[in-house]
C-alpha cells in the first residue's frame, strides 16, 4: 500500500541535498574558474589515478574479507564485554590519521613491537612501507566499518529463520547456504563500495606508509598541482576524476544493496543452535582475538605514548580542545539538520538524494577549502567565518556515513507507520516531531556520535581558514610536532582520542537512553 500514502515531504531533504551538491560542485567550479591555462593531465597524474584505484580495490577487498569472519563470530557469540568490544573496535575509524599512523608504526614499524618479537626469534624486522603498508593501514581504518556493515546484515536475518533452520536440523554448512550466503551477497557489495570510496581520497596514509612516490594518490597529485605548480585547473580536473570514481562506486553500491546500511542496535546477539561445535568456537575465538589485537594494539600504543606527557600539557592544548568541542558541536548540529531531512527524503522515494550526500566522501578537502576561500574571500574575512566554515565542511564530510545510518531506519519507520500516519492526516512537521524523530532516536544518536567524533579528529578545512588564535586540537598537535615537542604531541593525541571516543559514546548512548523498542 505505497502509492499515495506519503507522510514525509521530500522537498526539505531534496533542498538539503541540492545545497550540499551546490556547495561541493560550486567550490570545484570556483577553483576551476580561478585557474590560468595549465598543462592538463600528464602521465604522472594518470599513474596516480591507477595507483589510487588499485590500492583502493585491494583495501576494500581485504577489509571486507577480514570483516566477514569477524562479523560472523560477533553475530553468533555471546560473551562478557562483547558490547564494549564492539564500541572499542569502532575507534580506529574516528581516529585522526596522524595519530593512527604513529600508533600503527609503534606496533608494525621497523622498530615496532612486532619487529621486536621477530627479533627475539632471530627474524628480520617487519618492513611495513610500501603498497602493503598502505593497505594495512586502510584495513586498520576500515575493518571496523566493514565489520559493522556486515554484522548489521547478520542481525537483520530474523531470529525465527535460525530457529526454523535449527528445527530442520541444519548444520553450519546448510545455514551458510540457506541464510548466510544470500545475506552476504546482498550486503558485501555495499561494504566493498563504501570502503573503496573512502580509500580513493586517501592521502597522508598512502604517502607516509607508501614508501615513496610510487604510492602517489590522486589527492597527493591535487596537492602537488595546487601548491607545487599552482595549477588550479589541474587540481580541479583531478578532483573531478576523484568525484566521478567515487560516485560510480557509490551508485553501484546503492544499486546492489538497497537496504544495506550500518545501524545501531548491534548489541543483540542472535541465539544460534548450529555453532556450538568446538571447532567453530575456536574459529570464532581466533577471529575475534585477531581483530581485537590488530585494532586495539595500535590504540594501546597511542595511550602508552601519550600517558607520560598528559600532566605537563600546556594550557593552549586545553584551549584548543575546547575549540574542537565547539566545532564538533556545531558540525554535529549542521550534520543532523542536513542528514535527517535527507534520510526522510530518501525514505519518501527520492533516492538520488543519497547520491548527492555521497559527494562529501568524494570531494578533496584541499579543493573544497580552496574553493570556499575563493568564494568567501571577496565578501568576508576568512578568519571571521572560520568556525562556521569548518563546522559546515566537517558536517558535509560526515554526511555519507550519517545517511548510511539513518536511511535504512527512516525507510523502516515510513514503511511501518506511514499508512497509519496518512490515515490520520499526519504529515510534514507533525510526522517528523511525533513519529520520525522519536522512532529514529537511536540512529540519530549514533550518527551524531560518529559525526562529532569525525569532526573532532579532522584537521578541518586546511590552513586557509585555521585562525591561529582559535586553533583546534588536531592543528595544535601538528604545531607541537612542528616545534619538536613530540611528547606533548603524543599526549595531546591521547587527549584527542579520549575526547573523540567520549563524544561518540555520549551521543550514541544518549540516543538509546530510555528509548523504547
Amino acid at each position: 500500500m505505497a502509492g499515495r500514502a506519503q507522510p514525509v515531504n521530500p522537498w526539505f531533504g531534496g533542498g538539503a541535498a541540492v545545497l550540499v551538491a551546490a556547495l561541493i560542485l560550486g567550490c570545484l567550479a570556483a577553483v576551476a574558474l580561478r585557474a590560468e591555462p595549465g598543462a592538463g593531465l600528464g602521465a604522472a597524474d594518470w599513474r596516480a589515478v591507477r595507483f589510487t584505484l588499485w590500492q583502493a580495490v585491494l583495501s576494500a577487498v581485504l577489509s571486507v574479507a577480514f570483516a566477514v569472519p569477524v562479523a560472523r563470530a560477533l553475530a553468533r557469540r555471546r560473551f562478557a564485554g562483547r558490547r564494549m568490544l564492539i564500541t572499542l573496535l569502532g575507534a580506529p575509524f574516528i581516529l585522526p590519521v596522524i595519530v593512527a599512523v604513529l600508533g600503527l608504526l609503534a606496533v608494525f614499524g621497523l622498530n615496532g613491537w612486532l619487529s621486536d618479537v621477530l627479533g627475539w626469534a632471530g627474524l628480520p624486522p617487519l618492513r611495513i612501507y610500501g603498497l602493503h603498508g598502505v593497505v594495512l593501514a586502510h584495513v586498520f581504518f576500515n575493518l571496523p566499518l566493514a565489520t559493522r556493515l556486515i554484522l548489521q546484515g547478520w542481525q537483520e536475518i530474523p531470529a525465527e529463520r535460525f530457529r526454523l533452520a535449527a528445527h530442520l536440523g541444519a548444520g553450519p554448512g546448510a545455514i551458510w547456504h540457506l541464510l548466510e550466503r544470500p545475506m552476504l551477497w546482498r550486503v558485501v557489495p555495499g561494504a566493498l563500495a563504501v570502503v573503496f570510496a573512502i580509500c580513493v581520497s586517501s592521502f597522508a596514509v598512502a604517502l607516509t606508509l607508501g614508501g615513496g612516490p610510487r604510492a602517489t594518490t590522486i589527492e597527493l597529485a591535487i596537492y602537488q598541482a595546487f601548491r607545487f605548480d599552482f595549477d588550479l585547473g589541474r587540481a580541479a580536473l583531478l578532483s573531478c576524476i576523484q568525484i566521478i570514481v567515487t560516485l560510480i562506486a557509490a551508485l553501484l553500491a546503492l544499486r546492489a544493496a538497497p537496504s544495506g546500511g550500518f545501524g545501531a542496535g548491534l548489541d543483540r546477539p542472535v541465539r544460534r543452535w548450529d555453532a556450538d561445535g568446538l571447532g567453530l568456537r575456536v574459529l570464532d575465538g581466533v577471529a575475534i582475538a585477531t581483530a581485537a589485537g590488530f585494532l586495539l594494539l595500535p590504540l594501546l600504543a597511542v595511550v602508552l605514548a601519550g600517558g607520560p606527557g598528559l600532566a605537563a600539557l600546556p594550557v593552549s592544548v586545553f584551549q584548543a580542545a575546547a575549540m574542537s568541542v565547539l566545532v564538533a558541536a556545531g558540525s554535529t548540529v549542521v550534520l543532523l539538520v542536513l542528514a535527517v531531512p535527507m534520510a526522510a527524503g530518501v525514505a519518501a522515494g527520492w533516492r538520488w538524494i543519497e547520491a548527492a550526500g555521497l559527494l562529501g566522501l568524494a570531494a578533496s578537502p584541499l579543493v573544497l577549502g580552496t574553493g570556499l576561500f575563493v568564494l568567501i574571500y571577496p565578501v568576508a574575512d576568512p578568519f571571521s567565518v572560520a568556525l562556521p566554515v569548518t563546522a559546515l565542511v566537517n558536517a558535509v564530510m560526515a554526511l555519507p556515513f550519517a545517511l548510511r545510518i539513518l536511511v535504512p531506519r527512516a525507510r523502516q519507520v515510513v514503511a511501518d507507520h506511514g499508512a497509519l500516519a496518512a490515515s490520520l492526516d499526519m504529515r510534514g512537521l507533525a510526522f517528523l516531531r511525533l513519529v520520525l524523530l522519536p522512532r529514529m532516536r537511536a540512529q540519530i544518536g549514533f550518527a551524531a556520535g560518529l559525526g562529532a567524533a569525525l569532526s573532532m579528529g579532522d584537521l578541518g578545512v586546511i590552513a586557509m581558514f585555521a585562525d591561529p588564535q582559535r586553533a583546534t586540537l588536531p592543528l595544535q598537535i601538528y604545531r607541537l610536532m612542528g616545534a619538536y615537542r613530540m611528547e606533548a604531541a603524543a599526549a595531546a593525541a591521547l587527549l584527542l582520542l579520549v575526547m573523540s571516543m567520549a563524544a561518540f559514546w555520549l551521543l550514541d548512548r544518549g540516543g538509546r537512553w530510555h528509548a523504547e523498542a
Binding site: M1, L434, A517
Partner: protein, 231 residues
Amino acid sequence: MLRLEGLRIVQGDFTLRADLEVAAGRRVAVIGPSGSGKSTLIGAIAGFVEPQAGRVIWDGRDMTAVPPGQRPLAMLFQDGNLFPHLSVARNVGLGIDPRLRLTAEQRARVAQALERVGLAGFEDRRPGEMSGGQQSRAALARVLVQGRPLLLLDEPFAALGPALKAEMLDLVAGLTEESGATLLMVSHDPADARRIADEVILVAEGRAEPPVATAGLLDNPPPALQAYLGD
C-alpha cells in the same frame, strides 16, 4: 452513501473491478477467497491504492483525488494501529489533531472515549505494556474520537482469540450503532459477517459484487463463494 463507480484497480497482472453502492449506516462485511483483493478494495476506498479508472464517491462528493487523511473515514489496519512510542492518550489524541495540540476539552474527549471502550485509567500506558485486546480497544477509542461517518476495518482483530474477537466486533457494532457510521469490514470468517454485518460484499474472480443481505447470501452461496466456504 458510498458509491464505487466503474472502479478498476490494476496491480501487475491482477485487476479488480467494482461498481456498487453501500447505503449510509449499514454494516457491511467484505468476504472472499485469500488473494481476491479484499484489502485492495478497502485500500482504494481509504486512498492508499490509486485506481486506474472510476471514482470513489461519498455522499455525492468525488473523493478519488482526496489524500487518505482527508477522506471522511477512519481505518484500522491488520497491525500497527498504534505508535509504540506514544502513550495511549496521545495515540487516541491523534484522532482529534494529528499535531497533538489538544485543548483541555479535547483531552476530556479522549478520556471519555477511553472510558467508553473500557480503558479508563490507561491513559499513560504504552502500547507495549498492554494486551492485544487492550491495544484493539485503544485503536477503537481513536476511531471514536475521529468521529468519521465511514469506518474501514482491514481485519484488525485477526490475531485475537475467538472470544476476544467476538467482544471487539460487538464493541464495533455498538460504536457504529451510536454514531450511525457506515462500516466496511474485511473478513475471512463468515461467522464474523453473521455476527454484526447487515450485508456482504463478495470479492472473487476480479470483481467486487454489490452488497446483498448477509443471511441470504451465506445460506444460499453462489458457486464462487461456495468454493471458498468449502461446504
